[in-house]
């Protein structure tokens, strides 16, 4: 059994308390669960075991993996800094497969279409299950029950929390780095495969038993300024190419051209202005989606027109956020991920563009939570219910097609706004019953659609501020009725409701189990 001992959690969802043989805690409500004990600690190393000249380079990744003691059942972590241009993560499992290794757990910070070839290793048992995110083809494969174990889906912050807490023990972390020295100091800011920031790998560096840095740009010691610290690194592997540059970074991030999305962006910005959310000294996160980028553009203009400045913008960063920094309407960019070439340039050259790992910014089991300092965050969703609960991982047909990303973490911002179309083609966004619960409605404040804006009834302050607005403020029930009138009420998709058909569990930011994903039947 992949999942056992099901109980109903505080969100009313039936979840397992044992997943892949490990005990799990059911979701207990927002802010209810606090962990005890101590953080996980990797073994104490000694410099005696490492070359005194500091040269940890090896010729091949295979040799490095072998020296790290690669064996059946291990957990291997990778990161998505190189996004769809990543050439390293698949290579690890090619090597494992060639050496007859079985039952590995893959712990990526995110997966991309380029990881589709790993399906064959999930089929032949080289990989037992994935703990991380599953996009596109991998997600579909998981949805149809192809994975041997049960997938565990976590947010970016949930991933660092799980590794820190020892919930997931990383045996070998492989960090693909655009530049590194022989000692293992590394950075994403320079080199032919530059991706800007390595914000997802800091936690693996600190807590994995073994750490391998793979680079295609070896520089003389010291690699400065470094983002990965060589003291944590066991081996440095030099290869010809770690990534395909044009797939690592989109040359330019694209603003949406869709008139409907532009309207959502305009209303979102207008809402923020009228509700008094946008003001001098705020912190914002707008993301890299076409609609959110357009929201950012409106923010830029409004800040400038008012003579205001945002104190900080949270990455992932784009050319549009960089323009805010350079145009003097933002003091700092705090950044775990650079999305385009302008952002990569900026993080390298601008001292106010700060690389900030998600371990610092998104970790719920930490002495404070950066995300709760953000004033306005712009997010998306695949589904919402009338209680404002949200789904970001599955579509209404049940297919798991997206990761949680930073979504759950950012829900903790002071105001969470979701500009989303009321329906996509015929598929309504607002549903009676979410396919998968990823975020409790208590944390979602405003939903902006092209047919009206719904404010969470819990946000009496916002409702009061918007009561004379010219914007169409409506209820979620009203939005749902509008969508149903246009699209028709959808039938229930053919998704199993049996415990034994659990293909994935959704973790909340505190490590508890929020929901499950069930097998799609047709």
């Amino acid at each position: 059994m992949k999942c056992e001992r099901f109980v109903v959690n505080a969100a009313g969802r039936r979840v397992p308390t044992i997943v892949n043989g490990k005990e799990m805690i059911p979701f207990q409500g927002i802010g209810k669960y606090k962990p005890g004990g101590r953080k996980y600690a990797p073994p104490i190393p000694s410099c005696l075991d490492y070359p005194s000249n500091g040269d940890k380079t090896l010729d091949s990744l295979e040799e490095a993996l072998k020296r790290c003691g690669l064996k059946n059942g291990m957990s291997i972590s990778t990161h998505h800094h190189l996004r769809d241009g990543d050439l390293i993560s698949n290579l690890i499992f090619d090597i494992a497969h060639a050496n007859g290794i079985k039952d590995l757990t893959w712990v990526p910070s995110a997966s991309f279409p380029c990881n589709e070839p790993l399906i064959r290793y999930l089929e032949d048992g080289t990989i037992h299950h994935i703990e991380g995110s599953m996009n596109g083809a991998l997600g579909k494969f998981t949805s149809y029950g192809g994975m041997k174990g049960c997938a565990v889906l976590r947010s970016h912050g949930g991933r660092v929390q799980a590794i820190q807490d020892g919930e997931v023990k990383i045996d070998i972390a492989v960090i693909a780095a655009p530049s590194a020295d022989c000692f293992g100091n590394a950075t994403g800011a320079q080199g032919p495969s530059a991706c800007g920031v390595l914000g997802y790998s800091l936690v693996d560096m600190m807590y994995a038993d073994k750490v391998i840095v793979v680079t295609d740009n070896l520089v003389p010691f010291p690699c400065m300024p470094f983002q990965i610290q060589g003291n944590y690194v066991d081996y440095v592997v030099v290869v010809d190419k770690i990534g395909i540059p044009e797939k690592i970074i989109s040359g330019t991030t694209q603003l949406t051209k869709s008139p409907d999305r532009l309207l959502l962006a305009q209303w979102t910005a207008q809402f923020c202005a009228e509700a008094g959310l946008l003001r001098n000294g705020i912190g914002i996160q707008t993301g890299a989606g076409g609609t959110s980028l357009s929201v950012g553009l409106h923010f830029h203009e409004q800040l400038k027109n008012n003579g205001w400045k945002a104190r900080f913008g949270f990455g992932g960063s784009t050319q549009y956020m960089v323009k805010m920094l350079e145009d003097g309407v933002m003091d700092y960019i705090l950044d775990a991920q650079a999305f385009d070439l302008e952002a990569v340039r900026s993080v390298k050259d601008n001292k106010n563009h700060i690389d900030l790992s998600v371990y610092q910014s998104y970790n719920f089991h930490s002495k404070g939570n950066y995300t709760s300092l953000i004033d306005i965050v712009i997010l998306g969703a695949t589904e919402l219910d009338t209680q404002f609960n949200g789904n970001v991982v599955t579509h209404s047909d049940g297919l798991l097609l997206h990761g949680i990303g930073g979504w759950q973490n950012c829900l903790h911002a002071k105001c969470t706004i979701l500009p989303i179309p009321l329906f996509r083609d015929r598929i309504p966004v607002i549903v009676d019953q979410l396919t998968t619960l990823c975020g409790p409605g208590e944390l979602i404040d405003v939903v902006v659609t092209e047919r009206g804006i719904a404010i969470n009834p819990l946000r009496k302050d916002l409702i009061e501020k918007m009561k004379n607005s010219s914007l169409p403020i409506v209820s979620m029930q009203d939005l749902k009725a509008q969508a149903d009138a246009i699209c028709g009420v959808p039938d229930k998709a053919a998704i199993s409701d049996k415990d034994e058909d659990t293909v994935a569990v959704i973790k909340w930011v505190d490590g508890t189990v929020l929901d499950t994903v069930k097998r799609v039947l047709v």
Binding site: D260, L263, D425, R426
Partner: protein, 408 residues
């Protein structure tokens, strides 16, 4: 159609097609109804789509047929339009499959309704129509003419009819551009009984065309017991049309506006259409004069560079200065720019406020003569100021209670 076909198709498919479907129907002599479906929404709507298809076949008494649908998220009224377009190629019937008329669309418009913007929507492209109303153009135009390929005109009529009945346009005046006359007369039965507010008459060249069109409209109105006015907006697109502009403008009392189409007009002149538009200055002035002489609205051509908002703004300002009352849009992004710049600007509003205030004061004091400072104000000046104030209020640029805060 003497010999009816056994196999028919309608709709669109392929990359980039959204909210539409492609349907083929083959009539058979036995084996009942079979439905083959490829749909991106099959998991959620597959059963409903099949029910809808079977209901329609049953409605048209088709007992044996093979139906194949490739669906990219078409809403029911789109599927129904595609089905009916197929069926009417296969059987002779007077029956129409009409989905309920959306109550929210049951509005009529006035002769002097604002027509600053009218958003063109290709009649056979439902994805663009579904959300058109949310961008709040003054009017939407479901286009059966140039925006629809010749071999798609037949199916587009069902699409336009169903759109008029069922797509919520949020109060936008519902216009249809029919095909060039006389072919366009065949479009009328698909729109007149289904809530159209105004008909655009393309390539209009003489008043007789309007008379003939109105005869057909009257016949249909009587048949369907329609009593409200259905307005006309002839489009002048040729040298001959320009020369006849005045006759066309006064051809019938339901002609409420006249538009100019510069692409065809410049082609007719054999000149290039330029950004400065000097080549069409005469035509546009003729059109404005003809309209003002009859007291109807003069509507400018579309501006085709949808990415250049600055050039659009300049175009609008030029257009307004010539006396136009609105223009066409080919992209929702153009709407707000056009509204903003056709609307009276701050200086115009201030001047109008002073004039109206002086006029009201004179009325209250029982004075026959209105003066502002040392100037006497004529009735037409007051009238124009009133119009400016009304416009400013209706466009949210001025509070309706502006006089309460007004200081001399």
């Amino acid at each position: 159609m003497d010999e009816m076909k056994k196999f028919a198709t309608a709709g669109n498919k392929g990359k980039g097609v959204r909210s539409d479907c492609f349907i083929s129907i083959e009539l058979c002599s036995q084996d009942g109804i079979s439905v083959e479906m490829v749909s991106k929404v099959k998991a959620l709507y597959g059963k409903q789509i099949e029910v809808e298809i079977k209901e329609m076949l049953n409605f048209f008494d088709i007992r044996h047929a093979k139906v194949a649908i490739e669906d990219s998220g078409a809403i029911p009224l789109v599927i129904a339009a595609r089905m009916e377009a197929c069926i009417k190629q296969l059987i002779q019937t007077e029956k129409e499959y009409l989905l309920p008329f959306l109550a929210a669309n049951a509005y009529t418009t006035q002769r002097d309704t604002h027509r600053f913007t009218r958003l063109y929507l290709p009649g056979n492209t439902p994805s663009l129509a579904i959300n058109a109303g949310i961008h709040k153009p003054n009017a939407i135009i479901l286009d059966l003419e140039d925006a629809v390929a010749y071999d798609k005109k037949f199916e587009a009529r069902f699409m336009v009819r169903n759109a008029l009945r069922g797509i919520h346009f949020y109060g936008a005046e519902k216009m249809v551009r029919i095909s060039q006359l006389p072919k366009g007369l065949d479009d009328l039965s698909y729109i007149i009984p289904h809530g159209v507010n105004l008909i655009l008459v393309p390539k209009c060249e003489c008043a007789d065309q309007i008379m003939v069109l109105n005869q057909h409209i009257e016949t249909l109105k009587n048949r369907h017991h329609i009593t409200h006015d259905i307005w006309l907006m002839p489009i002048i697109e040729s040298a001959l049309g320009v020369m006849h502009a005045f006759d066309i403008a006064k051809a019938a009392p339901n002609v409420v506006a006249m538009a100019i189409g510069l692409e065809d007009y410049t082609a007719d002149l054999g000149v290039k259409r330029t950004a400065e538009a000097n080549e069409s200055f005469f035509a546009r002035s003729m059109l404005v004069n003809a309209c003002k002489a009859v007291g109807i609205q003069a509507i400018d051509s579309v501006f085709s560079d949808v990415s250049d908002m600055e050039a659009l703004k300049n175009n609008v300002l030029r257009s307004k200065a010539l006396g136009f009352d609105g223009m066409g849009c080919i992209h929702p992004r153009q709407i707000s720019v056009i509204h903003q710049h056709f609307a009276p600007d701050a200086e115009e509003i201030e001047k109008a406020k002073k004039i109206i205030h002086a006029y009201m004061m004179a009325q209250e004091k029982g004075l026959g003569v209105v003066s502002l400072g040392s100037k006497m104000i004529d009735a037409p000046v007051v009238k124009r100021a009133e119009k400016t104030i009304q416009l400013a209020v209706s466009m949210g640029k001025l509070s309706a209670n502006w006089r309460e805060e007004f200081e001399d």
